[in-house]
């Protein structure tokens, strides 16, 4: 659980963004704070050096005016000595001497360092502690002055200054992080909204997503999603229609069986009962046919290619199907017409036989008894065709494009086909790389065929 939560956080745009921005901001702040710290400390040292020099010059000026009362001066200076506890005023120690370095005057705690040292700043060790010392010589050259401060005390002051300058930055950081968090959340809100919108989709609600408030970066995603939703809806509608049609096709023969069975039960007339029983058999046959065709289509639908493929002599195949087709008594015989050299395609003989049987079945079902039905195999302009033609009344022009739709039935009454025969023919044509075509003939009648644009295999002579 924890692991998954962690991985979710690693994947989350919000967390990644937040982490990156926070780390970058904190680094920036830390760098700024460090630089401010050093800068402030340095400036404080400079400032205190300045004070040291100013104090030294003041002392020189005082000594010159009080040459006669140096002892009084020492006493007075001792009274203005500052307290060690005062952070920003570290006590100033001094020694004053003549040109030769003879000591004239010194503060009580001043380190005992030779006055003869060259003018300028030095750092010395005194009582085990570092001291900052400044030696100065009066312009006239008759006095030397040496002032000093404990570096420990100076550093304490400098540190205080530096810390005070860094403090606001440190205090602001949490506030900044909080602001960043809310900004990122606010910035990603449109994505959250989009997520909620997508989550609201279900098979019952496949409406397109609203693209109005979606950020530009996510627009392509929304467009792609909407396209997917549209396809999904179309597929689902198809499935639903197919299921409803299939239910209808199965329910009707069942209704036939039921009502005829009840008629047979209720009637007293034996001829009527016989007729009802015959109709029950016919209804059962029809239900069987519908189930067979549905199963066939269900098996063909998922195929990407033919299960088996071999070279097939179309004329021989047509002869086989014709021989196996029972022709009703009153019908003239079925004709076979082959035109062109021996015609072969590579394909699945069993499936092609199904196509031909379906086409023949349709022709027998939808033409008057006197109509002539011809099965043809022909080759024209490098194109191969296998099909069935009749000289019946043909099909209404507006129905032609819908013939191969699943469960589409002709508008003329009385058809008891499954409505799937041509859909199956079309699917088998696709699997064979052929086209299924149906048209009314100029001379009257109707023709349905599989057409291969080019002979798929070379033709064998005499095959």
């Amino acid at each position: 659980m924890r692991h998954s939560l962690q991985s979710v956080r690693l994947q989350s745009l919000r967390w990644r963004l937040l982490r990156t921005v926070c780390v970058a901001s904190l680094c920036g702040l830390a760098l700024t704070a460090t630089m401010s710290y050093w800068q402030a400390q340095h400036e404080a040292e400079e400032l205190m050096d300045g004070h040291l020099a100013q104090s030294a010059r003041l002392l020189l000026a005082l000594v010159r005016d009080n040459e006669e009362h140096l002892g009084d001066l020492a006493t007075r200076l001792a009274t203005v000595r500052s307290d060690e506890q005062n952070l920003y005023e570290p006590p100033l120690e001094f020694q004053i001497g003549g040109v030769e370095g003879a000591l004239l005057l010194r503060s009580e705690h001043a380190p005992r360092v030779e006055l003869s040292a060259p003018a300028g700043y030095t750092v010395i060790e005194h009582d085990g502690q570092p001291w900052r010392i400044l030696n100065l010589v009066a312009g006239s050259g008759d006095y030397r002055v040496q002032v000093g401060q404990s570096i420990v005390l100076r550093d304490r002051a400098a540190l205080e200054v530096a810390v005070q300058s860094v403090l606001p930055i440190a205090l602001m950081s949490p506030l900044l992080l909080l602001l960043l968090y809310y900004s990122v959340r606010r910035g990603l809100k449109p994505l959250d909204d989009l997520t909620a919108d997508v989550a609201a989709r279900s098979p019952d609600n496949l409406m397109p997503l609203a693209a109005r408030h979606v950020p530009t970066e996510a627009q392509p995603l929304v467009v792609a999603l909407n396209r997917l939703l549209f396809r999904l809806r179309a597929t689902l509608d198809n499935e639903r229609r197919f299921t409803a049609d299939a239910a209808h096709e199965l329910r009707t023969p069942l209704a036939v069986v039921r009502i005829q069975a009840q008629v047979a039960q209720l009637t007293a007339d034996s001829a009527d009962r016989q007729h009802a029983l015959d109709q029950i058999v016919a209804g059962t046959d029809r239900a069987t046919r519908v189930v067979d065709q549905l199963l066939r289509l269900a098996r063909l639908d998922p195929l990407a290619q033919l299960p088996t493929s071999s070279e097939i002599d179309l004329a021989a195949l047509a002869r086989r199907v014709l021989a196996a087709t029972p022709v009703p008594e009153k019908r003239p015989g079925l004709l076979l017409q082959t035109r062109g050299k021996p015609l072969a395609v590579s394909g699945d003989a069993e499936l092609l036989e199904i196509v031909l049987r379906n086409l023949l079945d349709n022709a027998l079902r939808h033409t008057p008894e006197a109509a002539r039905i011809t099965v043809f195999v022909r080759r024209e302009n490098d194109e191969l065709a296998l099909g069935v033609a009749d000289d019946g009344p043909g099909v209404a022009a507006d129905e032609l494009p819908r013939l191969a739709e699943r469960f589409h039935r002709g508008s003329e009454a009385g058809s008891d086909g499954s409505g799937l025969g041509l859909a199956i023919a079309q699917r088998i044509a696709e699997l064979h790389g052929a086209r299924f075509e149906a048209e009314n003939l100029a001379a009257g009648g109707f023709e349905a065929r599989l057409r291969w644009p080019r002979p798929p295999v070379t033709l064998r002579q005499g095959g």
Binding site: H248, L254, A255, R258, V263, L266, A282, S411, A413, D416
Partner: protein, 220 residues
């Protein structure tokens, strides 16, 4: 009792027709919406059993046109469409009842009887006149409590007269009620059946209105 059956499926239509005939109805069967429209314009039916998915013209369209004409004909929709929305659409278009396939034949017959009863303005299931009681559900006729044996045609004729108790029925009206299309009708068959009924139910039971037709006699 003449009923129009509109059903495009050959096997199912045959079954429903046979079932309705068993119920004592005279059935005209048409197989598309256009033929149904014409039949409804041309003939007087007592009821219509209507499929919805029809070639040439949908069942709902046929029904709407019928109602737009102001016809009160009882219509029972018989269809494979079983969704609630379909039923609502059918009933709102003017159907009086709705039955989905597959269905039970006795139920179809009972629903049709109920429709006809209501259309005749009565709620009681039996028809009665001058001691003669006809029960459409069992197709039994009694006279003063005693069963009377009637042939199918005699029964149909009696049912028609009982349903139109206060009207004079012309010979052609009675013929329409007795015969569906294509059935041979003799020149004086109505007279023959009237004669039979009078023999079985009493000479005064049906009276002849000269030059017009027939009507049930005044109760004694």
């Amino acid at each position: 009792m003449r009923v129009l059956l509109v059903e495009d499926d050959a096997l199912l239509g045959d079954g429903v027709r046979a079932g309705l005939k068993l119920g004592g109805y005279t059935v005209d069967w048409v197989r598309d919406g256009e033929a149904a429209r014409l039949a409804l314009l041309d003939h007087a039916y007592q009821a219509c059993v209507l499929d919805l998915g029809l070639p040439k013209r949908g069942g709902l369209s046929v029904l709407q046109e019928l109602r737009a004409r102001g016809s009160q004909l009882p219509v029972l929709i018989l269809t494979a469409r079983d969704s609630s929305a379909d039923k609502i659409a059918g009933l709102d278009a003017g159907a009086d009842d709705y039955l989905t396939k597959p269905f039970d034949l006795p139920e179809l017959q009972a629903r049709l009887r109920a429709l006809l009863r209501r259309a005749g303005g009565t709620a009681t299931p039996t028809l009665e006149h001058a001691g003669v009681v006809l029960d459409p559900a069992s197709k039994r006729v009694t006279r003063d409590g005693e069963a009377v044996n009637l042939s199918a045609r005699e029964y149909t004729l009696l049912l028609d007269l009982l349903r139109h108790k206060n009207h004079i029925r012309t010979r052609s009206q009675l013929e329409e009620s007795l015969y569906s299309w294509g059935e041979e009708t003799g020149s004086n068959t109505v007279e023959v059946y009237i004669h039979h009924l009078r023999k079985k139910l009493g000479a005064d039971f049906i009276r002849t209105v000269r030059g017009l037709g027939y009507q049930l006699g005044d109760p004694a």
